[in-house]
Symmetry: C2
Subunit: 137 residues, 2 copies
């Protein structure tokens, strides 16, 4: 496929939603390249994200639109949206306010596998989740 | 959840496969932070990856194990595997030989959305896919 063929569709025509109408979106800090989280988008949340330049997802657990940071204040300003070769995964480059993770870490990927199948913490705690979301226990 | 509670399970116990027995794996260059691709793993491909330190996935289209680079030579040496807060997404930090993308680009995310809903190429062509995979047309 030539470069021209590769670009002949529009961005929104290129996006392939799965049978549930969703596409995974990888979220990366646009300056440091750190991967912060992965979330899912439906067409409406993608259109909202494109329009507002604030990341908006589809919450599979709550089955509703989820403007990231709506309750925590930890919003994501979207700089760029990239799409992969198959059109079935997005990559958002964002500025993350506070931490991305509901556990209080900067990134949701805060645990790393060790050789012995245990894990270690490999990220920085940015806030106390009990203070932001309320104590759950 | 305290840090200790967060680490009390083993890595493999923490991994949550979906109803199809799969988990998405984001693949990132371990030195530059560039996101190269996303692929899916089943338990067997994850165990092979952990053992060999070469990325191995489950090909959903071909329904078989897929040792990345087996046909193209563009293998991925795995440095680290991270897991997200929900245990349902992995992040592999790798050294990519050649390009990750079957289209010949370094990254599968070689197209970026523009303001007018068109796209532009934002990555480097690393090889001619016709030469590596054979001409398809």
């Amino acid at each position: 496929m030539s470069e021209n063929q590769d670009l002949q569709k529009s961005f929104l025509e290129t996006v392939k939603f799965d049978k549930n109408g969703l596409i995974p979106a990888i979220v990366q800090d646009h300056e440091t390249g750190k991967v912060l989280m992965m979330a899912w988008m439906n067409r409406q949340s993608l259109e909202m994200t494109l329009e507002r330049k604030k990341a908006c997802y589809w919450s599979r657990s709550r089955q509703k639109l989820w403007l990231k940071g709506e309750s925590s204040g930890n919003m994501q300003d979207v700089h760029d949206i990239l799409i992969d070769c198959d059109g079935d995964t997005l990559l958002l480059k964002v500025s993350q306010i506070g931490g991305a993770c509901h556990m209080g870490y900067h990134s949701c990927f805060y645990r790393k596998a060790k050789e012995d199948n245990s894990m270690e913490i490999c990220d920085t705690l940015m806030f106390n989740p009990d203070e932001v979301y309320g104590k759950k226990n």
